[in-house]
C-alpha cells in the first residue's frame, strides 16, 4: 500500500494495502489444477486435492470480499473508485459473453456446417447410412435418444428467470427509495426464483438421462446441450450466491440509496445470465 495521504483526508484514489489474499487464491487454483489433472487420469493425489483447493478458494473469496466490503463500508471508496468498479464489471461480463459465444459458435458450426458435410456425397464413402438430421449423435451412434422439447420445463424456466429479473428491479427501486422491508422481500423472492430454476433444471437433466436417453456422451447433440445449459446453470448458481451475499448485506443495513454498486453489479450479472438463457431457449430448445 498505500497511497500516503495526510491523516484524516480521503485519498484521491483508494489504493489497498499489501494483501495476501491473491497468493492464497493462486495456491488454491494450483491445488485444484493438479488435483483435477491427476483425478481425471487416475493418478494420486486426485480429487481430495481438488476439494482442498476449492475449500481454500472459498476461504480466499470470503476473506477477500470481506476486506472489500469492509473498505467500502468504511467509506474509503470515492466516486472515482465506484466508476472503476462499473467499468470493470461491464468488461468482466463481456468476457463471460465471449465464453458463451465459443459454445454457441460450436453449436452453430456443428449443426450448420459440419453436419451437412458429414452427410454429403463424398462422406458416404465413410458413413454410408448417415442421414444428417438434427438432432444427431453422429454417424457412429448406437443409442437412441430424444430431442429436448421447449415445453413445458424450459418454457417455465424462461418465465421464472424473466420474473426474477422483474423482482430484482423492484428490489433495486426499493433500495433507492430506502424501503428496506420491500428490498429484502424481493431479494428473497429473486433468489427463490433462481433456486427454483436450478431445481427444475436438475429435474430436466434427470429426465433427459432416464427417460430420453440423452446423455453427455450422446454425440454432438448431447455435448452441446449439456455444456451450454450446464455452464449456464453454473452461472445461475454463481449469480444466486452473489445475490444471497447481497441480501445478507442488505439485511445488515449495508448500502445507501445512492451508493450500492455491489448490488448493481450482482444485478447486472443476473440480467446477463437471464439474457444468455433467452439465447439458449431459442437456439438450443426451439430451433
Amino acid at each position: 500500500m498505500s497511497a500516503s495521504h495526510a491523516p484524516g483526508t480521503t485519498p484521491a484514489y483508494f489504493i489497498p494495502a499489501p494483501s495476501s489474499w491473491p497468493i492464497k487464491g493462486s495456491f488454491a487454483l494450483f491445488c485444484m489444477a493438479i488435483g483435477a489433472a491427476t483425478w481425471f487420469n487416475d493418478l494420486p493425489p486426485g480429487y481430495w486435492l481438488v476439494i482442498f483447493g476449492f475449500a481454500m478458494l472459498v476461504y480466499m473469496l470470503f476473506g477477500w470480499f470481506g476486506t472489500v466490503i469492509g473498505e467500502s463500508e468504511s467509506g474509503q471508496y470515492s466516486h472515482k473508485v465506484d466508476v472503476s468498479f462499473r467499468w470493470s464489471m461491464s468488461w468482466f461480463i463481456f468476457s463471460e459473453v465471449m465464453f458463451f459465444a465459443a459454445f454457441f459458435g460450436a453449436l452453430f458450426y456443428a449443426r450448420n456446417i459440419a453436419l451437412p458435410w458429414l452427410s454429403d456425397l463424398d462422406n458416404k464413402l465413410l458413413w454410408p447410412d448417415f442421414a444428417g438430421q438434427w438432432p444427431t449423435a453422429g454417424p457412429e451412434a448406437f443409442d437412441k435418444f430424444g430431442k429436448m422439447s421447449p415445453f413445458p420445463i424450459p418454457a417455465i424456466n424462461t418465465l421464472l428467470l424473466l420474473t426474477s429479473g422483474v423482482t430484482l428491479t423492484i428490489a433495486h427501486h426499493a433500495l433507492k427509495d430506502n424501503k428496506r422491508g420491500v428490498l429484502l422481500l424481493f431479494m428473497i423472492l429473486t433468489i427463490a426464483l433462481g433456486a427454483l430454476f436450478l431445481c427444475l433444471q436438475a429435474y430436466e437433466y434427470h429426465e433427459a438421462y432416464t427417460e430420453l436417453g440423452l446423455k453427455l456422451t450422446s454425440g454432438i447433440y448431447g455435448s452441446t446441450f449439456f455444456l451450454l445449459t450446464g455452464f449456464h446453470g453454473f452461472h445461475v448458481t454463481i449469480g444466486a450466491i452473489m445475490l444471497t451475499v447481497i441480501a445478507f448485506r442488505c439485511a445488515k443495513g449495508h448500502f445507501t440509496p445512492d451508493h450500492h454498486f455491489a448490488f448493481e453489479a450482482a444485478a447486472w450479472y443476473w440480467h446477463f445470465v437471464d439474457v444468455v438463457w433467452l439465447g439458449l431457449f431459442i437456439v438450443v430448445y426451439w430451433l
Binding site: P18, L43, A101, A110, L227
Partner: protein, 536 residues
C-alpha cells in the same frame, strides 16, 4: 533474486504512514513481492518472470536446434522433440511475450497518464501471481507420466485427445493464464479510461497507452474463447463429449476455427504493444513529435478490428470452400494497409528529425526493418494458393519468428533500454547495449533467414529429422540460434549492471523524450502522482 531487482531505496514516505494500522510501509524481503499492490513492484515482477520464461523457452528452442543441427536422430527421441516444440511455443507466447508486455503496462501506464497506481491494485497482484502456478504446471508437466503435451502449441484435436496428463496440465495452465490476462486487461482498461490526470484527453494520451487499451479489448474478447476451446478438449478427453470427433457428429476442424478465432487476434495482441513502445521511442530519438498521431490511433484500431475476421488463413489446407478461402485471403491482405500506415508514419517521424542512435533507437529501427520483412512474408502466406504450398513448412516458422522475435522481442528490448534509467535510476552501459543489439540482429537473421529457403523447398515444421538435402541451412540456423541465445546473456548482463549501479540517470535522460513519466525523479519513487498532475 531480489538482489537484482530494482531496489526502491528511496522507499520514503515511511514518515507519512502509521496513522492507522493499515498504513505501514510494504513488508520487507520476500513478502513484499508476494503481497505487493504497487504497480511498479508488480511491473518488475512481471518483467523478471517473463525473462525467466524467455530463457526457459529459449533453452527448449536450443535443444530443438541442436537436434536439427544435422539429419538423423541424435539428441532427443521424436516424442520428446514434439514436447519441446509444443512447450517452446506455449512458454514463449504465454509465458514470455504476453507477461512482458503486461509488465511494461504496469510500470508505464500509471506513470504516463498521471495515475497513482492501477485501478485495482490488489487484483493486479493476483494477475501476476496467477502466472506462477500456471508456469509451474507447464514445467511440472515435463516430469509427469507421458511427459508434457506434444500436440503443438495449437493443440489441434484429435491429437490432443491422445495425449496424457501433460495435456490436462497445459489446459489448466492456459485457463489460469487466461484468467490472469482477463483481469490484467480489465485493470488496464479501467485505469486508462478512469484514471487519467485532468487534461489528459484520450487523444493526448501516449501511443503506448492507446495500443494497450486496444490490446486489452482484444484480450477480453478472445481469451474466453480460448478457454472455451480447451474446455471442449478437456470434456472430449475425459467426459465422452464429441465436439471434435466426427463419429459423434463433431468436427476436428471446429477446434481449429475456435482456436484461431482466438489465435489470430492473439498474434496482434503480441505486436500492438510493441508498436506502442516503438511509437514512444522513435519520436524521442528523432527529437520530433510522432507523425500522424491520429492516423496511428485509427490504424491500430483497424488492425484490431480486422484481426477478428481473418482467422481461417491458418486453415487454408483444411479444405474449406473456395468462397471461404477467398474471403479470408482478401481480409487478411487488407491488414497490410493499416500496418503499412504505421510503418510509414514511423519513417515520416524520423524524416528531417535530429536523430541519435542510442540502444533503444537502434532496437526500434531494427524492429521496423526486420518486422517489415516478417510482415511481407505474412502477406505472401495470405495468398491462398501460395499458402497451400507453404502451410506447415519452415517458411511459416520463419515468418512468425520474424514478427515475434524481431518484432515483439526487439521492441521489448528497445523499451527496456529506454525506461531502465527511469526504473533503476541508473544509466545502462551503452557499449553492452549496442553489442547486444548488433549481435541480436546479425544472429537473428542468421538463424531465421535460411528457414525461408527450407520452407520454400518443402521442409515441414515440427519434424525431428529431415531429408539430407535440407542439412546445410539447418546447420546454419542452428549455429545462428546458439549465437543468438548467447547474445541474450549480454542483455542479462547489461540489465543487472544497470540495476546494481552506473551513472546516475537524470529525471529525463533522453533529450527528446516526452511524457509525464519523465517529470518524476529517476528512479521513480515508490508512489507517484498521488495528487494528479494537471496536463495542459
Amino acid at each position: 533474486m531480489s538482489a537484482v531487482l530494482p531496489g526502491h531505496a528511496h522507499d520514503d514516505h515511511a514518515d507519512a504512514h502509521g496513522h492507522d494500522d493499515h498504513h505501514h510501509g510494504p513488508p520487507a524481503g520476500f513478502m513484499r513481492w508476494v503481497t505487493t499492490t504497487n504497480h511498479k513492484d508488480i511491473g518488475t515482477l512481471y518483467l523478471w518472470f517473463s525473462f525467466a520464461m524467455f530463457l526457459t523457452g529459449g533453452m527448449l528452442a536450443l535443444t530443438i536446434r541442436a537436434e536439427l543441427f544435422k539429419p538423423g536422430l541424435q539428441i532427443v527421441n521424436p516424442e520428446f522433440f514434439n514436447q519441446l516444440t509444443t512447450m517452446h511455443g506455449i512458454i514463449m507466447v504465454f509465458g514470455a511475450i504476453m507477461p512482458a508486455f503486461v509488465g511494461f503496462a504496469n510500470w508505464q501506464i500509471p506513470l504516463m497518464i498521471g495515475a497513482p497506481d492501477m485501478a485495482f491494485a490488489r487484483m493486479n497482484n493476483w494477475s501476476f501471481w496467477l502466472l506462477v502456478p500456471a508456469a509451474s504446471l507447464l514445467i511440472i508437466s515435463f516430469f509427469v507420466p507421458g511427459g508434457a503435451t506434444a500436440a503443438g502449441w495449437t493443440m489441434y484435436a484429435p491429437l490432443s485427445s491422445q495425449m496424457g496428463i501433460g495435456q490436462d496440465l497445459a489446459i489448466f495452465a492456459l485457463h489460469i493464464m487466461g484468467a490472469s490476462s482477463i483481469m490484467g486487461s480489465i485493470n488496464i482498461i479501467t485505469t486508462i479510461l478512469n484514471m487519467r490526470a485532468p487534461g489528459m484527453t484520450l487523444m493526448k494520451m501516449p501511443m503506448f497507452c492507446w495500443t494497450w487499451l486496444i490490446t486489452s479489448y482484444m484480450l477480453i474478447a478472445v481469451m474466453p474463447v480460448l478457454a472455451g476451446a480447451i474446455t471442449m478438449t478437456l470434456t472430449d478427453r475425459h467426459f465422452g463429449t464429441s465436439f471434435f470427433n466426427a463419429a459423434g457428429g463433431g468436427d476436428p476442424v471446429m477446434y481449429q476455427h475456435i482456436f484461431w478465432f482466438f489465435g489470430h487476434p492473439e498474434v496482434y495482441i503480441m505486436i500492438l504493444p510493441a508498436f506502442g513502445i516503438v511509437s514512444q521511442i522513435i519520436p524521442a530519438f528523432a527529437r520530433k513529435p510522432l507523425f500522424g498521431y491520429a492516423s496511428m490511433v485509427y490504424a491500430t484500431s483497424s488492425i484490431a478490428i480486422l484481426s477478428f475476421i481473418v482467422w481461417a488463413h491458418h486453415m487454408f489446407t483444411t479444405g474449406m470452400p473456395a468462397a471461404g478461402q477467398l474471403f479470408f485471403m482478401y481480409a487478411t491482405m487488407l491488414i497490410a494497409v493499416p500496418t503499412g500506415v504505421k510503418v510509414f508514419n514511423w519513417i515520416a517521424t524520423m524524416w528531417k528529425g535530429s536523430m541519435t542512435f542510442e540502444t533503444p533507437m537502434l532496437f526500434a529501427i531494427g524492429f521496423i526493418f526486420v518486422f517489415t520483412m516478417g510482415g511481407f512474408t505474412g502477406l505472401i502466406l495470405a495468398v491462398t494458393p501460395i499458402d497451400i504450398q507453404l502451410q506447415d513448412t519452415y517458411y511459416v516458422v520463419a515468418h512468425f519468428h520474424y514478427v515475434l522475435v524481431a518484432g515483439s522481442l526487439f521492441a521489448m528490448f528497445a523499451g527496456v533500454y529506454y525506461w531502465l534509467p527511469k526504473w533503476t535510476g541508473h544509466m545502462y552501459d551503452e557499449f553492452l547495449g549496442k553489442l547486444h543489439f548488433w549481435c541480436s540482429v546479425v544472429f537473428f537473421n542468421l538463424t531465421f533467414f535460411p528457414m525461408h529457403f527450407l520452407g520454400l523447398a518443402g521442409m515441414p515444421r515440427r519434424i525431428p529429422d529431415y531429408a539430407a538435402q535440407f542439412a546445410d541451412f539447418n546447420a546454419v540456423a542452428s549455429i545462428g540460434a546458439f549465437c543468438f541465445g548467447l547474445s541474450q546473456l549480454i542483455f542479462l548482463a547489461a540489465v543487472i549492471k544497470c540495476v546494481k549501479g552506473g551513472p546516475k540517470a537524470a529525471d529525463k535522460p533522453w533529450e527528446g523524450a516526452e511524457g509525464l513519466e519523465w517529470t518524476v525523479p529517476s528512479p521513480a519513487p515508490y508512489h507517484t502522482f498521488e495528487t494528479p498532475p494537471q496536463v495542459k
